[in-house]
Subunit: 385 residues, 2 copies
């Protein structure tokens, strides 16, 4: 185990009916920017619950609607302008990971004097972010309990990740009932997103960290166990509750402390979304099979452990166990409606080359837990996928 | 899974050499109460490392030595008097769980106007606790990452637990090398303490919380895996590091969210320590076998799951699997030098009756995850143990 610093002060308020507690969590006298996405929260009643909680607490608020999936910098700057004009001093993100990611940038940019894009490019740190609260409606990204954010910029076609401790939510309300109205596609995407978040922190090489390994395997095995019920109609409260807590635990930092991490699948996946518009989680399922082909030797010990502890594969030659674990993982993705491998998506022939070039140009290479994947490695992954 | 609120803002600074970072974590200009136990930190060099870090950061500090195992209220009030006289405004606890527990009361009492014992009796909440930092030297209680504290009062023979969010450490430095000089008895006690902390949150009844179950099993299985190396001489860094992280994870609140909890073993164990002076962890190993005899039916489903997932027992009739799991757990305690069952300790014949009476008198009954253990149940547990 390597040295680490773990500090996650996000207050998680979990369970049915918890949106009503919002008013107690936002400081009295705050002027709230209530930001959300495309309006699904109006259809499912979450908007009304939030308005009721804010009103009952006597909090002034302004609404900002329209933060899109893969939140766009251009849209978010409009929210910043509204917050500045109305002197709003608390940001409340209501939605999925895209709304939360977007609101992290909004919270950081309101009082930021320079070019806000510098925050995303990591050329400047936010000085004094406005406090952020979250009502999560889509279990997937883990953004509700971490400091990360991914922002897309239409003008340049970029999709970049950044993070800062000042934008960790002060609180996140996780009510599994808010997920009941999600389309099956988004539930499946969320399951794959959470699963791959764990793989990026787990499927590397052994680091004498048996507790972290088991914590990661706990999230993976639980996702596999609950996925059928989480996908079922009518919605099953306990399955949705467990999915929501798994997705948060997958990326709140805990399982990755003191161990090597990879993130190759995500880095390539972000480029794939930027170039083709494929859903984030789907790009992960598309790319991951290629990563395990190219990195099979580097990841051998952990692939065998993954095969045994997550998929129960203990018999037969090593190669077969690894093959079988990859097949079972691909089938798992497909069981929740997400095609595994690039073949399941329409991707123009020049995309692999373009992704390798974009990563190289931005200084995003090398990738991999050992830093051994260059542009050629990226091309080989996309070919193998 | 039941609704829950999880909020653990403790910053964990983990690994070798991390004591040197102390100075950055304590606000500039603070006047520090540097509190510790019996002086072992002078023998093993931790005292010198702390003094160097405080001095280098230009922090004023006063030392308070002599906080004992099962920290005594009378001693802690002397630390409070020193802090008040010297206008100290930051409490730095350097030691094991007893020092940390004691310093939580000190931090809460310095600015408390009433009778400080009311804080421990939970008749009053601390209004504005002084900030607390920790350098942990003994992995066991989990106090370094939670809000709990257990205090003994000589005058009344009481040993009481309390807790408050305001006394959660601002940071805890966990350097596994500080544990190298521990006697084997304390390492073994720590392993048992952490193991039983998990059992109290896990060995109850199924609550549709498969992730929490697996997280708990992760800590249990890892403790079993690393115990031999953690007990070995010369000390093994990785084993001590994993033990330290397991002990913290066993009681930082995470594994117990949204699930029933028991704490019968602890409640009876605290009385046993108060009456006989037996080490805390040893009372847990003494009492636990009695709890699983009396509560065997209530805990049946989880005992079977524990047998399968922690001890690998999947064959044979249910009764045999449960018996075998209990035997393997007792052997595990004994493998780290801690006798299992009351028979391994010299306990006067009238103690079971006295414990039942004390718990009843204080309103500490009923116990158990279903609240079904009265005074007679406590007596039966102690007889069965």
């Amino acid at each position: 185990m390597e040295n680490f610093v773990f500090h996650n002060p996000v207050k998680v308020i979990f369970g049915k009916g918890q949106i009503a507690s919002l008013g107690r969590e936002i400081p009295k006298g705050s002027r709230v920017l209530f930001a959300y996405g495309g309006g699904s929260i109006k259809a499912n009643g979450v908007h009304a619950q939030v308005v009721a909680a804010l009103t009952q607490a006597g909090l002034a608020f302004k609404e900002f609607a329209g933060i899109e999936p893969n939140p766009r910098y251009e849209t978010l700057m409009k929210a910043v302008a509204l917050a500045r004009a109305e002197k709003l001093d608390f940001v409340l993100a209501v939605g999925g990971g895209s709304v939360v990611d977007g609101c992290k940038l909004v919270a950081a940019a309101i009082d930021f004097a320079g070019d806000s894009w510098d925050i995303v490019r990591r050329r400047a740190a936010p000085t004094a972010a406005k406090p952020l609260g979250v009502v999560l409606t889509l279990p997937a990204t883990g953004s509700e309990m971490n400091l990360f954010s991914v922002i897309s910029r239409e003008e340049t076609g970029e999709k970049l990740g950044w993070g800062h401790p000042s934008v960790m939510p002060r609180f996140s309300v996780l009510d599994p009932e808010t997920t009941y109205s999600l389309p099956a596609r988004q539930v499946g995407n969320g399951i794959v997103d959470a699963f791959v978040h764990v793989l990026e922190q787990y499927l590397t090489y052994p680091a004498e960290a048996p507790l972290q390994d088991r914590l990661a395997e706990s999230v993976l095995a639980t996702l596999v166990e609950i996925a059928p019920a989480a996908m079922a109609t009518p919605p099953d409260y306990q399955a949705r509750a467990n999915l929501m807590w798994c997705a948060t635990m997958a990326l709140n930092g805990l399982i990755g402390q003191g161990v090597p991490q990879d993130w190759t699948t995500h880095m390539i996946g972000h480029e794939l979304t930027a170039l083709t518009g494929i859903d984030h989680a789907r790009t992960l399922a598309a790319v991951w099979p290629g990563v395990v082909v190219v990195q099979r030797e580097a990841k051998r010990a952990k692939l065998l452990q993954f095969a045994e502890r997550v998929w129960g594969l203990t018999e037969g030659p090593e190669e077969e166990r690894i093959d079988q674990a990859v097949i079972m993982t691909r089938r798992f993705f497909e069981s929740v409606g997400v095609p595994a491998g690039l073949g399941g998506y329409e991707v123009p022939a020049d995309v692999p080359e373009a992704i390798a070039a974009r990563l190289a140009q931005r200084g995003g290479l090398p990738l991999g837990e050992r830093g051994d994947l260059d542009a050629d490695g990226v091309r080989r992954i996309l070919e193998a996928a």
